[in-house]
């Protein structure tokens, strides 16, 4: 991804901010021209809840370019508290800690170094919520 593309999407990548369709509730990462689900043109700015449940996860072992130094890394499919499903890297977990259905929360992390222009890119990742007794 180009630096400009990263910069344009920072509000989503930093704070899970985006736009929800006023009619059908579909989430969009930026303010779209038209809703991808119901074709409505009305949107409300929202910040997605920073916690939810892990639906499923996997581990990437042969990574794409610019992710070589992070492999193996985990990708999770997460259902947030408002029902929105998002993809995220998982972090701060012990190997036996990942299980489908566990509660996870968003944290702010370095994601990668952009090879071509050399800037450091940050964004959200999710980690398991510590169980408190």
């Amino acid at each position: 991804m180009r630096v400009t593309g990263y910069w344009r999407n920072i509000s989503f990548l930093y704070r899970l901010a985006g736009w929800k369709c006023t009619h059908c509730g579909a989430f969009h990462h930026y303010k779209p021209v038209i809703c991808r689900r119901c074709r409505s043109r009305e949107f409300t700015q929202v910040e997605l809840p920073g916690s939810g449940r892990l639906i499923a996860y996997t581990v990437i072992r042969s990574p794409p370019k610019e992710f070589e130094r992070y492999a193996p890394y985990s990708i999770g499919l997460i259902e947030l508290e408002d029902g929105t499903k998002i993809l995220s890297q998982l972090t701060d977990f012990k190997e036996d800690e990942l299980r489908d259905g566990i509660r996870v929360e968003a944290v702010f992390r370095k994601v990668r170094v952009n090879g071509e222009q050399g800037i450091i890119e940050y964004g959200y990742k999710f980690r398991p919520v510590l169980s408190r007794s």
Binding site: M1, G5, Y57, G123
Partner: protein, 384 residues
């Protein structure tokens, strides 16, 4: 609408062709197809390729291929629909003839993946399966998304028989001259192979190879005058959300469901009349989802039916009769053209040791990304 016929096919072996450029591979397949059809020129050329800008630093493939096939002057274009780019070129070529504008077109699909390092090919696949600033940003590549689908599938239905799809494909590829991996593998070997993105194993995903395939399509008028065997062709396509988890049910590939139904309707054929299917088994789970979403297996049952032998060469519905994406090979932009060319060989009785017993109708499903688009081609024997 003018009837459209396949009049000839040509393809290269799928391999790591270190000594040949993408344009050489595509020209080789194209000239073979023209010779097979017995035509010396065409009204237009349609080229399908997914990643030439990224891996070869090469664009403008239309004009380039007109030159490399000795057809300078003929209008030529390139279509891109990720792994289904060849099918997108075929769709355009089909419409050109069906509309009555052209009598004969050349459709070429090609891809040369060995020019890239493995992590570059992986990046290329990521560009095709997700958005660059979302899946691309976090490194959630094609295998990650497929692995998550596989998990959801296993939770809902169990994973019985899904790792058997590569076994079927390899069995059919054994001894096939153009296949990249022309040998058998056992289920145990699949299950013992290391994870690429769990639960997806190394031997459940297609390899990296180079290849090109080409077809000559002609109008029914020209088909009557040509000596080569002609097979009638139909093609349909549909799209879906890029990210499968934005879809109502990620385990139902709506693009497959729609494109299969539309092409069957177009051709006036029922599912029961389809004698063979070429599946998009770039990963085992997608092969199964193609069958289920296309209505050729009940949801959750494709793996069990595979274990029963239903998709073998002598089964109820032979699939991937020359090895499919897994064993014949999967050079992205060329794949759909290989699928169609293989059905053409089956329907014209030229399939050699893999010949099915007098098939009359075959269907190929070609996907882009994780079903963001599907193209379904149907070939059937029909007198001109």
């Amino acid at each position: 609408m003018v009837g459209v016929y396949v009049a000839g096919v040509g393809f290269t072996k799928i391999a790591e062709h270190w000594d040949k450029d993408l344009e050489q591979l595509m020209a080789e397949a194209a000239v073979k197809a023209l010779e097979d059809a017995g035509v010396s020129t065409v009204n237009a050329i349609y080229v399908g390729c997914a990643l030439s800008e990224y891996l070869q630093c090469q664009a403008n493939l239309g004009a380039l291929m007109a030159e490399c096939t000795g057809l300078v002057g003929v209008p030529a274009f390139r279509s891109e629909a990720a792994e289904a780019s060849g099918a997108a070129a075929l769709y355009s070529g089909f419409c050109d003839i069906a509309s009555g504008r052209s009598e004969a077109v050349l459709v070429i699909g090609g891809e040369k993946l060995s020019d890239g390092l493995p992590e570059e090919v992986s990046s290329g696949m990521l560009m095709m399966s997700g958005r660059s600033w979302y899946e691309g940003f976090m490194g959630a590549d094609f295998y990650a998304i497929s692995a998550l689908l596989y998990r959801l599938y296993s939770k809902r239905y169990g994973d019985e028989g899904i790792p058997f799809f590569p076994v079927i494909s390899h069995e059919h590829a054994e001894g096939v001259a153009h296949a990249q991996y022309p040998f058998k593998i056992t289920l145990d070997r699949v299950l013992e192979s290391p994870f690429i993105a769990e639960p997806l194993r190394m031997l459940e995903v297609s390899g990296i190879g180079d290849g090109a395939a080409a077809l000559v399509l002609v109008s029914e008028g020209l088909a009557r005058r040509l000596k080569s065997p002609k097979i009638k062709i139909f093609i349909s396509s549909a799209t879906d959300y890029m990210n499968p988890f934005d879809r109502e049910d990620p385990l139902r590939l709506q693009s497959v469901m729609l494109s299969v139904s539309k092409v069957l309707e177009q051709a006036g054929v029922s599912r029961g009349e389809v004698n063979m299917v070429e599946l998009h088994d770039s990963v085992s789970i997608l092969g199964a989802l193609c069958l289920e979403s296309g209505g050729f297996s009940p949801p959750g049952a494709a793996g069990k039916l595979a274990m029963k032998g239903e998709f073998g060469l002598n089964g109820r519905l032979p699939c991937n009769t020359f090895g499919g994406l897994k064993a014949r090979g999967h050079p992205f932009g060329a794949t759909a053209i290989y699928q169609v060319a293989e059905i053409y060989l089956q329907l014209t009785g030229r399939a050699g040791k893999n010949q099915l017993d007098k098939p009359r109708t075959g269907l190929a499903i070609s996907l882009s990304g994780v079903g963001a688009a599907a193209f379904t081609s149907l070939l059937k024997i029909e007198e001109v």
